[in-house]
Symmetry: D2
Subunit: 347 residues, 4 copies
């Protein structure tokens, strides 16, 4: 069985494992105040051109979203989010667990438009009985989105302008940020990200690390006492240097971007194949997640050799699935999949 279900099937990039072994008996202080963390922070600030940012390392995505969002909001505030946003559907109510409503906005493609955000926020503050409703206190987007789609630079600029107009922070969930930046068509560069939001995170778990997410805070007002938040949410890893050295390895010499490229290359091969075979897709995705709609017969046949992530029923006879490539996808496996898709769709 070959797994295309998600982008966290394997361990870590071999260079990270080497680093682990090489540093194993170093003695360092706990909780992320060691040299590896310091170096990793510098590499990240350099890679994203945000020299005044604060960088913190956490273990996983849900933990990171919860920690960040609860650090930004006042108790009576909620977070605006596309209805498909990870925090709205796949985190078992972790955000609500910190007392905050997720204010879900309708969305076809997983993105929030500047217009919709503006309208929602304006209409709240214009309401005479506003205090009876949850106040929008921040905007959450994922880039790439859960559907693999990407904001254009212009879309992001417009959205951020709306946020700034209303003094509402913008947070970018970058669980798959590497794959977004590596997309062929994107006009967003690493250095754009810190300029177009107040806080974001760089996903390690899905892009070459064993685990780990790097939170980057560019808005000074959001920096204070952030380590208290991490600790309170169980995210202050005792052996914090494990996070440091993974990000050190990923960002000291461009490894993060390089392995992201690989995933995109493999995904584009799949996409091209789907197009050639006339397979419809749920979202037109430029990233490592592809969402073909297969007839149930075809899906059954392919599922004998491959795992996909079931996404949703499209009709009585059709289902959308997610095919994920990653830094670890073997070219030969992509090749096999492509051939099999060709075979079954020609039937």
């Amino acid at each position: 069985m070959i797994y295309f279900e998600c982008d966290y099937h394997e361990g870590a990039h071999p260079k990270i494992l080497e680093k682990l072994i090489e540093t194993n008996f170093e003695q360092t202080m706990g909780y992320g105040v060691d040299e590896h963390c310091e170096k990793a922070k510098e590499y990240i600030k350099k890679a994203f051109s945000c020299h005044n940012a604060d960088v913190h390392f956490l273990v996983g995505g849900t933990q990171t979203n919860t920690t960040v969002i609860s650090s930004v909001l006042r108790p009576y505030q909620g977070v605006l989010c596309a209805e498909t946003g990870h925090i709205n559907v796949h985190e078992t109510g972790a955000i609500e667990g910190t007392g905050h409503k997720v204010l879900a906005l309708e969305s076809d493609d997983g993105k929030i438009t500047a217009e919709k955000a503006d309208e929602y926020i304006k209409s709240h503050f214009e309401d005479e009985a506003a205090e009876h409703m949850v106040q929008p206190g921040m905007v959450y987007i994922s880039h790439p989105t859960e559907g693999g789609t990407l904001y254009t630079k212009n879309e992001l600029e417009k959205l951020y302008k709306v946020c700034q107009k209303h003094s509402i922070p913008l947070f970018i969930d970058g669980a798959r940020l590497g794959y977004g930046l590596a997309a062929k068509n994107t006009d967003i560069k690493p250095e754009d990200i810190p300029k177009l939001c107040d806080i974001f995170y760089i996903g390690g778990t899905k892009v070459g690390a064993l685990f780990g997410e790097a939170v980057v805070i560019t808005n000074d007002a959001l920096k204070k006492d952030f380590r208290y938040f991490i600790k309170r949410h169980g995210g202050l890893l005792a052996k914090g240097r494990l996070l440091g050295l993974q990000f050190e390895e990923l960002f000291s010499d461009g490894l993060y971007f390089e392995i992201s490229d690989h995933a995109i290359n493999e995904a584009m091969k799949v996409r091209k194949c789907l197009e050639e075979c006339g397979v419809k897709v749920l979202f037109a995705s430029d990233t490592n997640q592809q969402f073909p709609i297969f007839t149930n017969e075809i899906l059954k046949e392919l599922s004998e050799k491959y795992t996909f992530c079931y996404w949703k029923k499209v009709s009585d006879n059709e289902s959308a699935v997610r095919i994920c490539t990653s830094w670890a996808t073997k070219e030969e496996n992509t090749q096999k999949l492509i051939e099999d898709i060709k075979k079954v769709t020609k039937g």
Copy 2:
């Protein structure tokens, strides 16, 4: 500088790293439903003779305590705990963050007596206005305690009896459980633990793993939907197999107990030295944490070569510090420390 500050200065036991490398390109399902997790659970149930228990893997201690405690309590209940308990002092209010009061009981040695627990619980339920107060809903103990002390089997039996009498679950924080079980004088064996509580966890972070804590639920009433709790608290590691394979390695062949023994051996050398040098201690500890009281001059001198964890001021001229050994402590380092303690205390 040689670090004796805590038991998480180094990476992981080399066998764990080997396992990581060996399995790195295996493709497994995420979130802890892979074969490594399954095997690790079986090994643990065997090692602790608790074949009907549920086992779950989480990343860190604060996360585990928060997840377990919030899964057991009803909203208006609190958790009884020694005033020195980790959840009461060193988790940034993570328990309160889930809405629960920590009901701290006075304690000299970090332990709760059966009598004190009984009295507290009885007196609550006998109060006519009980509903104006937080209801005690579970008892939390750490074994070993934060001061390195241990419950005797008899003490634990009596405490558990009180809990059962009041239908209140007992939870054992075993962040350093290995070191407790490896102590020379303890009469508690691994198989006693599941019989004398409702839920406990086996610490990996401090005993040879990179990270990871194994929660063992023996009380059927506490098993339901526990994975929801883990996810909601950000503890469901995407690459869950990393937890599985570490515990697999630690428990397939007794490694966990073996390396715990090593830490105890090193700690006992330090303890013997302290006794011989007439150094007073804060707690008489049979485990890997030793708490000497040094004069500030001596402490200053030792601190040029060694790090300790500052514990508390004892008098104007004396301070208690924590000296930790661990699975990773090098015998030569213990030897150096002992010689230096001898040297400075003879001055």
Copy 3:
């Protein structure tokens, strides 16, 4: 200016004030354990034929919803609710403040259908990765709904059957229950309510009392320790007898139903007038809330003499407003309003 904006413009029914005065210097125990509360509970159980129920008195609606919902749900569970439900839109996230997601279902008329609830619940529990999502743990409906609509007995029976099939409690927010039971067309009688849900409340604030909501718990499993919940949510009124004596007065001799009838009579006059004048309505309401759609010119003209609750913009030139009658509505004021509506709509 005559107020038709809501059903809580005035104080309380004169009989309640008389009772207040009559009992003012009685000395009673605090917190709701006095004789007035006891009597009121008996009257309520008799009026609703639920002799085994537990009855508790709280002060206001948001407080009651929060207390009830947080007493029923486990931390990782959420509450199913029509998207227009009060808890979803007008309680400043009080439910989320207790850690629970409101799982909003699309609804045109403010009601949840049995089918939709069934589908949502089934689909959650059938999902292999269910633990990544909030588990539906109870169903909340309001009767009458926020749009003045009513469940038929058959609809309620079907919905409750679905809840029972899934072992999920059904909670009825009866902030305006009196007006629902007094509707001309309803086939739901007081004694049906306790049989068709697990817990409900009888609104006093909007039906003749100064304040106060009576929670009725019919499902034994939900009764335990409820007073702890009330206290924890700040709802245990020190002078609890104030709640008791109001409900005593309302239910000792049918006053609650009688004054509800009055509000319905006045509302039906308004409704008939709207129909005769060809004014469209947002919802066809049999209760004390009517939702006409006026052109902005007409609305402006009427607003010189009357207040309404602005509901929503319907088109560039049309707005829906809420007209409320209540136990306190003076017939002469209804008459004036009707005449003025006739006048302006004939223009």
Copy 4:
């Protein structure tokens, strides 16, 4: 039976009831934006000489404490409080329910000294691992305390200075503020209160009102969006004018202070009697709560005619009880009690 158990046995001062009746059919807007609330706010600001303060009305004490404290603290912060503080012992964990730890300081007399607060706060911020602990974020005191004791002006000034030095707000729970200000020996005047804290509340429930507490915010930084907090905690009374008109009546012409005087007069009679009869007391109280220690025989005898609040067991044969007077205490009842105390203690 004559009740001396608490200060909320009766309804409200007759003038308040008159006001209720007189205004009953006035139509006002809901939720505290009516004229009665406006007037009451002005009267309060005048009575306490705090013309720039914000005033809000809530229903009860626990609700008020919860709302205020959760509005001031950041999530990782806790509130410093005497171990006997109401929020620490008698609110069923409502504060923890909002995610915050109550940081209890030892106290003999229910008061916090400036020195203790200073030491606690300083020691937290000096700790290198401060982020592992709950950060002290505000100080809560009650005046009078739960034991009836009072801060002197000097004590309060010193405590507030410490708070200001550390930029930590001071909150005064004034559930019985009237009785504190009416004490014979106090050197604190109404106008001192707003100058010596950042936020406080004036208790109505225990001082002549049916219910109601008036929060006064003097620190501008704490004013923003307070109504959201009230609503979120279920404290925004629909018929808000009920709160307004009660405080209007209490503060338009000094009624609050006048009826507080009465309670103090009655309490001082009791105190004098206790002194004369050689009855020991738990606290030396200048306010309406007196805490005699009776032998169990005496207590039993008195309990045939009077109710007291059982406070605690003092020895095998002695118990401390609370005797409360209030605005409603009848002189004849005090007289009877005094005579009976004399009688039984002379036995």
